[in-house]
Point group: D2
Chain length 462, copies 4
């Protein structure tokens, strides 16, 4: 995780402070749920929630003990036990009673992934707002549609943007589903069969978390949130765990991030294509102090979009590792642990950064409608070839003959730099088949954009 | 796609017959929708639906023309035009009127992927039925739960199976969502802006397909279906295409197959682990004529499960390519085409095969409860260490002290081959802390399985 | 493996005929080596080499027996035994004596991979010849160099091609090393410890294969070769096998194919970029009967290059599976088998096809030097900005001041459509710093191409 | 890059100090080479080498300027220019004269990758030494060879280790080749055509670096080296760059790390398998203060090996991104940059850590020969089935008949828990076919290990 590709809130979500705060919350909540059932004394629960609170000392002591025990949860528990033993030594033994490390680790990871998803969703929403604004602004801005990199037919820049809007709407929907996939916690013990933890305890903790987490993230862990408004929490219990929450859930989560990153890549690629000097239809905004090429001062490179292209590669590469994490041995092995320690922060931090960067790019994107028109005109009208073909068909000739006429005249126009209509008029066969009205209406851009309003209605209103 | 890892129905779904049949259906449906709006003559629509019908001649002629034109859709259209020209030459020019190849190609791919998903869903359902049966059968069959490959605590073989049941339930749910992701068709023309196809035509075709496809797959294309009952079709229009249906949809589809394959891998790995001669708790069924190792006749290898492990690698490897397919240039390039021609058949065929094979393995799996008990007993009671730890805590000592006692006595039992209870009785410190009742109830397997009914209820009833 | 992306020779290499022919060769060679040591009777070796010969009957019978035994090697051996029993029943028991299936399977795979590598090397050599020819042809053809998609500095089209030449030279070198990695065979028995096969037998077979294989591929298996000249074989014995040849070798092989495919992707991307209508500097050749867009007859799309971009995705996706194949269990499991049955033919066939297609593209590539010059001129001289910057520095001002002057005047030229030299002359500060000679020599393309000969010498002579 | 999976030297190699020190070295070396040719004044070169020296101030100032310019190389150059302007303002303009940022960035990355490769090679050598020692120690330690997870034949634990030795020998060889692949530097300017840098300058700098780098890493950057002895540097010039060094080189580098990581995975998997409680043949050493399972004190989990399994996933996942980095646009785009900033440190740091951890595991691995013998005996002699089969064949019966006898008697032995020899004696058909000597020598482990010395000689002497 490089600072260069990070934003503070998401980094904070993966900090040791956040982790230990959530561990404390879980242990405390567990103790209270157990006390409510009479599994441990009420006093123990009170003592635990008194001492299981994050502060710098707890962090330091945990680290020191981890160096010794080589086990982070054990070190954390010892650090709290030490505090309790100093005051309430009688109760420290009820800390983490009947639980196993994975209960705490996996439930905490679930909370972090859910919060990350909510933050990413918010960034997606911001991006959508900006795309919608720019799309509406350029709803009628004529430009070239290109297939295979070749001039195809006229379209509008707003329509282009609309297709990204729809794609990121889907991305948001997928992210919500991915969040739901990982919204389960488990307090089911060493083999997941509740040998020493009653299922009611798990249910009670889950309800407690859903009540408390909004406040936890809006106050205690405020830094680990980009939202001003607390969002609803809908954690569920894992129906059947095997010490660990099954990793197919996480694989879906990371795959979803990979798909979203690839959608960002598509958008960044569009901007890079449109900014290339041969096209020149848009440009990333360029800050006044920013330096371009060190050697070639004339260049304004689309470096932010290029950066997003690279980040997309980084965000999607962990999918494979996340899939390999699924097939753990028997009730669990721990091979997934190192993988997740790396990819959970890395992918969410980089995707968060990339989304915010894309929002900034779109927000400030310079659009050059004159160049768009110039590029349209450079096609000499051949981009109306499909319309011409259909007119010829309507006028009664076979597709084969029509195709030949269109291909012949188009190529003449392209090669000779003459307008297609002029070539058609000189072409005996074509000229005989086309009426004056045909000629008058053939090269009409507006024919190509007449459904734009309907498409905007279709996409932006849903 | 190797015959060795294929089943006939899914192979048939990707046959040229299926493809051309669907192309015919789309062209015919398009023509009728256009005629209904008055875009083309009614007679043309009738002529088109008369001639656009699959037979071997059409296939042969299409192939011959493709060799010439290097364009499969153009070749197909020409083959039909030739037929029409022989009888109704006036109308051939209204075939495919205003459409572009992608309208046909992408809509057909959507139909095939949706059908593939339905067939895979059916296999998943079959697998679930078999797992549920075997899980109920072994609900109380005691066996070792293992974490890190090490004996952990007692569990039941039914509980093991239940966790796979829950995972494949999630797989089925994901598959349904993935099917919905790719359930859009598009008839929107060269840049997706309906320049020469009215949006109403697309809607009408979509409705027509949803009505007709159940019959098409249950009669005309019966071979390409594993279902005896036609399933409901819920194709939708693509809100905004850019000639092509956006490839993030397909990426989600193939990613989902990858996740499901990885869940199969987890299950196959479990069976391989349990069958290894050191464990011997289960065995794949072995047909009487089957040959095992060519050199070592004594071996019954878990080759079907090993095969599924390998197939899982094959099914998930295309995810990366599917993600790279998202970022097409501008309104589309065609780099995705070769990828999809390979991975769409390959992944669905291999996953279908792997699901059916897994169903067969589970159905016939030999389970050896005596060996399970023997393996439990080989642990000399140390797998009750967590229970022992908690009893010591309840009896009033600190976690640190309790942990040391348990670790010391467990290791003695494991190393010396003596039962843990015996070691505990000889251990002065431990013996002083444990009551007669503690000793009597400590090594009670049933304590570990008392929530089994509740878990079965939780998972199998939902 | 789709016929569409296949060439006959490589397909033939992976045919059942090739496989069974090589199995026969190995069994026969094994028998003779054993007879030479006295491990089996000489008559047995003669009988085995008489009957272990490929023909259609053997293939049919093997298939029938495989359906029964579910084991391809066992089925093959039985088919030969049946033949022997009909005539020389006494000796059939010495067939495959002391060997295990993997001895035959892995050694055969090695031979096929080595042959595939030789065939791919030959395609790479053909590609190199064509690139060298086109590079020399366009050694002096001026065109734009672009970084970040933006006009950077003048270069020549030949230099562009030269960089691909150098990359494919490296590709060929890597392929040779990858071939060497998989050039080991193993006849070491069930655990790789020669319990029933003497190491001398393995050595003798290896030598025999190196002698015989040139003829085998140039006569018996002629179809599975693209070479007119037999190539040298340098098979070695695997120093230590564990029944199987270790799969890190194969992972290196498939990784290498993935890297080569990615180099093809880079080249295909260059052509697609240069062909886009906004650039128009090159074009794939277009056959006279070929049809372009079905709807837009004016378009000549770079579909062959786009296809190579897609094939590159397909060729590199198996790398991951090949890596997962490395960590087999203990002395071996068989999870790699299904993977290799698919990826070994698929990747070599598709890469072979892609290389040949790329050779064809480069061979026939249309180059448009006038458009290249036009694109150079469209930059209004700002692509000389680095030279201008350095002149200003030489003339004594600081880099910061020089950078500002160049950036200011370049942007004016680009935005105003005026030549940079004209802007410089009007710019008081710049004009004062530049001499008449500076102005005269600044915009000199040849300054940028003066090392072209040296670079050609450097790359093409090695 | 997590501290948890890092070692100091490799982390230091990727520090800002190392990077800036190398940038200074390159700029200084460049200036001297230019001065030697008369391209810039000698005084300028002296001034540059005086001021281009790493210290904390330079780092701070570079960072501040980067925040402003958003360009790390420009910021670095400005920081040095400021220093020079304070003293030798006349010469600052000759800093980085004619070079482009990539000249510095790519050459520095090359140096770092080469140094990383040397450090990894050293770790591989350490691992090899330890494996060789343990292999020799257990050359004759009998244990089970297993295929498909099933007992196959006797082997020795030393032979097992020998196969890893051979694999890591190959790994070291591959690493050396990968180092050679990335051992090129480039000082060829904006498009790689030496427009403003003479090729002689690049050659001179290359020679200078090869002379100076041993001392640089053994003194100035001592922290970024695990070697006590300076290693030889063999940097070459890049034959043809396009501003950037072509990324196929880096793809080979990262692929190689992925293959090595997968070999580590194979070894870690072997240990995990052998340590599982059902097998119990080895155990990772367990430090006295280390805590095992928090809930189950009896467990000694193979957590280090499990960790390596996870790290292998992390090290190989960037291969895909590295391959996608190859196909940059035209002469270069910058999408690879973010990818490499992450994966170059991450993969080398994690692989370095994993290699050192594996060395530690092997060094301290506890081996339990008694359990190995016990596991051998548990097979009841069926692991001699191949030998039995061959004896029956030698004694004159057909393979089919022999196979049936062996399979029947082996299964009886396995199922009934009786020794194979006993079953054979009771089996009328078998008994009649086997002589007293056959019975006496059949179950002889030493037959299976008689080539062990030869194999050790073969692998360890090369």
């Amino acid at each position: 995780m490089l600072e260069r590709y990070s934003r503070a809130a998401m980094v904070s979500l993966w900090s040791e402070e956040t982790r230990l705060t959530l561990w404390c919350l879980l242990e405390s909540s567990l103790a209270h749920a157990q006390a409510a059932r009479g599994d441990i004394p009420q006093e123990a629960a009170l003592a635990i929630s008194k001492h299981a609170r994050f502060d710098e000392d707890l962090l330091e002591r945990s680290k020191a003990l981890e160096a010794e025990t080589q086990h982070d949860v054990v070190a954390f528990l010892r650090a709290i036990e030490e505090r309790m033993d100093a005051e309430d030594c009688e109760y420290s033994r009820f800390l983490h009673f009947g639980a196993t490390s994975s209960d705490i680790l996996d439930s905490t990871l679930a909370i972090q992934l859910v919060q990350a998803a909510s933050m990413l969703e918010q960034e997606l929403s911001r991006l959508l707002v900006v795309i919608a604004r720019r799309a509406r602004e350029h709803k009628e801005t004529l430009c070239l549609g290109r297939s295979h990199g070749m001039a195809a037919e006229p379209t509008t820049f707003g329509l282009k943007l609309l297709s990204y809007y729809a794609e990121f709407q889907r991305a948001r929907e997928r992210l919500r589903r991915a969040r739901s996939e990982v919204s389960t916690i488990s307090l089911s013990g060493t083999i997941g069969h509740y040998a020493f933890l009653h299922p009611q305890v798990e249910s009670a903790v889950t309800e407690h978390l859903n009540r408390e987490l909004p406040a936890v993230f809006s106050t205690t862990l405020r830094a680990a949130s980009t939202s001003s408004m607390p969002t609803a929490w809908e954690l569920r219990i894992e129906p059947i765990a095997t010490q660990v929450i099954p990793r197919d859930r996480h694989a879906v989560f990371f795959s979803t991030l990979g798909v979203i990153a690839s959608s960002l890549e598509r958008f960044s690629l569009e901007i890079r294509h449109l900014q290339r000097s041969d096209v020149g239809e848009v440009s990333e905004a360029f800050s006044s102090k920013q330096t371009g090429s060190s050697a070639m001062p004339h260049k304004r490179n689309p470096i932010l979009s290029e950066n997003i292209t690279g980040l997309a590669r980084l965000v999607r590469m962990p999918m494979q590792a996340a899939l390999e994490n699924i097939a753990l041995w028997h009730e669990r092995d721990i091979s997934h642990s190192s993988v997740e320690r790396v990819i959970a922060p890395d992918t969410t931090v980089m995707l968060d950064f990339a989304l915010a960067r894309m929002t900034k790019i779109v927000d400030g994107l310079q659009v050059f409608p004159e160049r768009m028109v110039k590029n349209l005109e450079a096609t000499k009208g051949v981009l109306f070839s499909h319309g011409l073909l259909l007119r010829l068909l309507r006028n009664g000739i076979t597709r084969k003959r029509a195709y030949k006429i269109v291909q012949r005249t188009s190529m003449q126009a392209l090669d000779g730099g003459e307008e297609l209509t002029e070539v058609l008029k000189r072409d005996e066969e074509a000229n005989a088949l086309l009426s004056a009205e045909d000629f008058a209406t053939l090269c009409n851009h507006h024919h190509y954009t007449r459904h734009v309003d309907a498409l905007f209605e279709r996409v932006l209103s849903c």
